[in-house]
Subunit: 223 residues, 2 copies
Amino acid sequence: MTGRPASPQTLAGAEEPVVFVIDDDASMREALSNLFRSVGLRVEVFGSAHEFLQSTLPNVAGCLILDIRLPRLSGLDFQAELAKADIRIPIIFMTGHGDIPMTVRAMKAGAVDFLTKPFRDQDMLDAVTTAIERDRVSRDEARMLSGLHARFATLTPREREVMALVTSGLMNKQIAAEIGIAEITVKIHRGHIMRKMTAKSLPDLVRMAEMLGIGPASGGPQT
Amino acid sequence: MTGRPASPQTLAGAEEPVVFVIDDDASMREALSNLFRSVGLRVEVFGSAHEFLQSTLPNVAGCLILDIRLPRLSGLDFQAELAKADIRIPIIFMTGHGDIPMTVRAMKAGAVDFLTKPFRDQDMLDAVTTAIERDRVSRDEARMLSGLHARFATLTPREREVMALVTSGLMNKQIAAEIGIAEITVKIHRGHIMRKMTAKSLPDLVRMAEMLGIGPASGGPQT
DNA sequence: GGCACGATCATACCTAGGTTTGGGATCGCT
DNA sequence: AGCGATCCCAAACCTAGGTATGATCGTGCC
């Protein structure tokens, strides 16, 4: 943190992380809101899961504080909903009357923490810190992966095929033999691949292929 | 599964997974032992964590069933002990009187499951299946990584340095300039590296470097 | 001192990778 | 029919990678 407080919006949603709180208890919302603001965190509160879904989620790192016992939908089911809808945001559960199976289910589904009420403020803040950091990392990864996929999508089928063979370590002549074309053609495809993927070197391309999950079968080098 | 039952020991400990059970209640040990054997799993039971640590662990995939309330050491503390001692085995906790914080702590520390007594046999079997598979995978990874580290250890300091630069995508001449030696010398180092690491190709070497966590700073290709 | 090892480098030689130029063929879409 | 994308290939040319041979030098060890 560079000591900069909450500048309104320097560049249309891109910096300050946000804590979303969903709880049907207004006093709890108020208490959490105060807690998070007291440490300089941006907060948005909702009385129900529905309200949360209606809102426009800013494109910044964040996390979700959820009571396991929500009005119409259980926190656990809501967690599943979000996963199904591909909304990946770290979740911190709170509960007054939770049980162990619920806890296990939530944690297995990736919850960051599961706090029992009453909890200590510091425990909540620690959980939020962890959650936001986790989201920041996963957002970074997602952003990079999406750029990668976008570039990969511009490759022609043949180029994709050649890329897989190149990154698997075959020589141009072997690739040519493998798919039944001339070596010079492989070289040309290869050149196109490097440019389209904006790979600065072969190792660079190999790493891209790894991230894209390219490479027939075997996970990696020898045992 | 190839339908092959429990052949005694074809090759000194290398196939059948084992379920380790630690519980001070003899009837529980008996029940679990029967349960696992009924599905063809090898089982070893212990009355305490101490007994378990005294035994010689076979080098096969396995998992540990642990009561959270152990005689002298809590299951949670024992889990921490194992982690500290670098004994990585998936753990499934059982409890009669557990609470949520315990559950959260266990799950955060990597427990596969946390079952409340009485539990359904099928739940335990499912957890064991997951745990063993997880261990199998992590053992495969560990085995590969150890081979990799062993080969990497045979590299001279200079070779390691060159390997990092090669796999980061620099050309020989750039590497030469970078460390202030002649290009031909880089080529020679490079040849040694490929041979010592038994890399069949540059992409191969790059993947090895990735697994070894080599490469100054930056995690990977562009954003 | 002598030896092994790591590191350095030159010369020579060969293979692999890559671009440019220029061309041909097929296919689908307008 | 014309256009653009994809795929194919050749000749020429240049750079990069890799090996072999042979040699020098410094360090640590017996």
